[in-house]
């Protein structure tokens, strides 16, 4: 359900109220409507096509993270005008076996380049009071253009957590510097390229749950990456191992294959343990008396965001790795 509205925040909120009243009336005889909201999720789309994908992703995420979604959509003609347009929508679903519909609300704001610099002022009254605000900055532009006109930087102070994705950033060092700088200002940041490592990290952690090796016996660790240059995920993984095994020598080495993490090897005086990316989206574990395959979890955008939206407080492990 959606309807176009003019762009004053008060008007948007009033129209949302009307939308809820209409929906409640329409569903009065069939179980009613429950408005669910646990946060404000602001998503800055890269372009018009991306905004369409965002709308679908947000629809999926709302089932587990009901929120007021605010989708910021750059104007399709690339115009630089200051004008803003907005439309509201509701995402509804009916849990299996229930008659009541659960709905979350959304606002889509379309802006030209100079309009984006004004958008922070608009967002202040559109936040749901007293609930966390998560800002999801899509694309790579944000890493390099923070201070350019139309950048998203003015939005950063509004958010309790800002989620980026450094996977397509060519220069891992500058991306990490950017994230460290934001973290240093006290903001809570997350990077979906770190989230993609959860499957790898879980396999390694479980090997130590099983005492495949004693942490203090590991002498060296080698992380191998594919692609022409080292990616942020390889840097993250190496930093994570370094922070967990401070006495071990951790190295990054280029390898064959597609960009990203390819393998990891731990060596003790007498043993060797390797985790390598295999076929069928599996990791192959070998050494230290083990030989098995472990299926990696989904790294769809929905799955990655689901994981990040589940952590709205401090994330000590990521913070430690980012600042290592």
């Amino acid at each position: 359900m959606a309807s176009a509205v003019t762009v004053q925040p008060e008007r948007i909120l009033k129209d949302l109220q009307q939308l809820w009243a209409q929906m409640a009336q329409a569903q009065a005889d069939s179980g009613g409507v429950l408005r669910a909201c646990a946060m404000t999720l602001v998503v800055a789309a890269e372009d018009t096509a991306d905004a369409e994908r965002v709308r679908q992703t947000v629809g999926v995420l709302m089932h587990n993270h009901p929120s007021r979604a605010v989708i910021l959509r750059p104007r399709g003609d690339g115009g630089s005008g200051a004008e803003l347009d907005a439309r509201i929508f509701a995402e509804c679903w009916k849990p299996f076996g229930k008659t009541q519909q659960i709905c979350s609300e959304g606002i889509e704001i379309t802006a030209g380049q100079s309009g984006f610099s004004e958008i922070a002022k608009f967002l202040v009254p559109l936040r749901v009071p007293d609930l966390p605000v998560v800002l999801w900055c899509r694309g790579t532009h944000v890493f390099t253009a923070a201070l350019e006109p139309g950048s998203l930087e003015p939005l950063f102070p509004l958010a309790d957590k800002i989620i980026f994705d450094s996977s397509r950033v060519p220069d891992a060092d500058s991306a990490l510097q950017f994230l460290r700088r934001l973290r240093g200002r006290g903001g809570r940041v997350a990077d979906l390229h770190w989230t993609r490592l959860t499957g790898w990290r879980e396999v390694l952690a479980h090997l130590f749950d099983d005492r495949a090796m004693q942490p203090n016996e590991v002498k060296t660790a080698q992380v191998t990456f594919g692609g022409p240059s080292v990616s942020t995920c390889a840097r993250y993984f190496a930093a994570w191992i370094r922070s967990a095994l401070p006495a071990a020598r951790v190295t990054l080495a280029p390898g064959d294959g597609a960009p990203g993490l390819r393998s990891m090897t731990l060596l003790t005086a007498s043993d060797k343990l390797t985790i390598a990316l295999g076929g069928d989206h599996c990791l192959e574990v070998s050494g230290a008396g083990r030989h098995y395959r472990s299926l990696l979890p989904s790294v769809s955008e929905e799955a990655l965001m689901h994981e990040e939206l589940g952590i709205l407080g401090p994330d000590p492990v990521y913070d430690r790795v980012l600042t290592a």
Binding site: A36, N64, P66, T198, A205, F208, D209, Q214, L245
Partner: protein, 496 residues
């Protein structure tokens, strides 16, 4: 064994690995195994929570091959999986780890056969699950002990899960504990109370100790009384034989509901660690005032629904309580003088388990109530365990229009709405906890004995009298004496 911290742990992102192990289930063809244990284990496999290498070894007297047992359990998992998630391919992989050893638990040969099967599976860690009739518990524990099945190799473990009831009175509970401890250490003994594994019961701790606003009100100064209700709309449903020996007091109050009461009323522990939390629960249970014999008639009520004696397997003269209610007081500074009313029964109007904390009224009634000048209703905080898990706060609000007329309104929080994710079943949670060695949600010997001590005077009174049963109609909220019990203290049951 000293626990070494895993430097790669990240509990915000992934859970601890369930170690490779064999689970030996005694009573593996029984109802509990079919309805709860196997569906829970299958679901854990579905959620990738089980290790790559594990074994489930079932035992019962019925002669069966491994394949027969797999086929039976396949049907059970399909029928009883809560959300119908059944994947044929996954089942094939899961079932390859299912084994079966037929034999009588009184026969020493059975334990040798089990030992051989455990060795065959090459599992070093073994979790024994007693899912049989309670009268076999000590026989099985003795059998495990005599056959040295409980002896773990270096670095491995042997653990025992015991289903309730843990004895049928204080004396038998102590005896059972002593027999278990002859074979298993207390830290390897996991007494399961599936109520404590329910997400909503665990959330009582989150509500109380994760928020700042409730705990300051959580005491005798602000709380008028607490009602804990566990009502079932069904009868004994074919369990008449077992139930007539147990009764509602033993089956529900001694274990589940006193544990829930302990969770509601306990002091915060200094840290969220297994023994710290269990210490506080145990302290609370030990603080419950023990009824004097002459108080039992005033503070406890037994009931039996019309038609119970006609259920299959039930003695036509049975004195079994299918309804039990009690008034309990906690002798500590926080709760002195605050009554905790607990009731449970079968064939009540609806299935509901909840905890209602009723707060004291405002000291001065400034406003006329909207419903004909009656006293305004008190504030209620309701923790709903099942169904529709959630929390409601009832308070008064002004009715729209002129004048100042107040009406009770409800502010509701529903787990299903705010967290779209599926909650794991209590058995999934508790099985994983036992495998990883976390006993937080399991009851300890001292907790079991403390709760038996609380109900022992009621048991003795009820065992020595003859009730005029049946005394309530199916579909009602139990016998009138229960209403009189609570009315004596100036309160009334919430029967909505």
């Amino acid at each position: 064994m000293t626990e070494i911290r895993n430097p790669f742990a990240d509990p915000l992102r992934f859970e601890r690995r369930v170690p490779e192990c064999a689970i030996v289930i005694f009573g593996a063809a029984g109802d509990l195994a079919k309805r709860k244990l196997l569906p829970a284990l299958y679901r854990l496999a579905y959620d990738r929570r089980l290790p790559a290498s594990f074994a489930i070894i079932g035992n019962s007297r019925t002669p069966m091959t491994d394949d027969d047992y797999r086929e039976r359990m396949r049907e059970a998992v399909k029928q009883f999986s809560e959300d119908g998630a059944f994947d044929e391919e996954l089942w094939k992989r899961f079932a390859a780890n299912l084994h079966y050893v037929a034999g009588d638990v009184k026969d020493a040969q059975l334990y040798l056969a089990l030992k051989e099967k455990v060795n065959e599976t090459q599992q070093k860690n073994v979790l024994f699950y007693l899912s049989t009739q309670p009268s076999y518990y000590t026989v099985i524990v003795d059998g495990i002990g005599h056959s040295h099945l409980a002896a773990a190799p270096e670095g491995a473990w042997r653990r025992l899960i015991v289903e309730k009831p843990f004895g049928h009175d204080l004396g038998s509970a102590k005896e059972l504990n002593a027999r278990i401890h002859a074979v298993f250490r207390e830290e390897d003994t996991y007494r399961i109370d599936h109520y404590l594994g329910k997400e909503t019961v665990q959330n009582i701790l989150a509500l109380r100790f994760g928020n700042g606003i409730f705990e300051p009100l959580w005491n005798r100064r602000y709380v008028n009384h607490v009602q804990i209700t566990a009502a079932e709309s069904i009868g004994v449903e074919g369990r008449g034989g077992y139930y007539q020996e147990a009764g509602a007091l033993r089956d529900m109050i001694q274990n589940h509901l006193l544990q829930v009461m302990a969770t509601v009323a306990m002091e915060p522990s200094a840290v969220f660690e297994p023994d710290a939390v269990r210490d506080e629960r145990a302290k609370l249970l030990r603080s419950i005032k023990i009824m004097r014999p002459e108080e039992v008639d005033s503070y406890a009520v037994a009931g039996q629904y019309k038609g119970f004696r006609q259920e299959p397997g039930v003695n036509p003269d049975a004195q079994t309580d299918t309804y039990a209610a009690g008034t309990f007081f906690v002798d500590n500074w926080r709760w002195a003088g605050v009554p905790f009313f607990i009731r449970t029964g079968k064939k009540l109007p609806r299935r509901v388990t909840d905890i209602a904390i009723q707060f004291n009224q405002a000291p001065l009634a400034l406003f006329a109530a909207g419903d004909g000048g009656q006293q305004p209703r008190p504030n209620l905080l309701i923790l709903r365990i099942q169904p529709e898990e959630g929390i409601s706060l009832l308070f008064l609000s002004k009715e729209p229009g002129s004048g100042m007329r107040l009406r009770p309104v409800s502010m509701d929080f529903n787990y299903g709405t705010s967290f779209g994710e599926r909650s794991p079943s209590a058995y999934e949670t508790l099985l994983v906890d036992a495998m990883v060695g976390d006993p937080t949600l399991y009851t300890r010997q001292d907790m079991v004995e403390a709760s038996w001590t609380v109900i022992q005077p009621i048991l003795e009174n009820w065992n020595n009298r003859r009730f005029d049963f049946p005394n309530y109609d199916p579909g009602t909220w139990g016998p009138g004496e229960a209403d009189a019990m609570i009315a004596k203290l100036g309160r009334q049951w919430r029967n909505s």
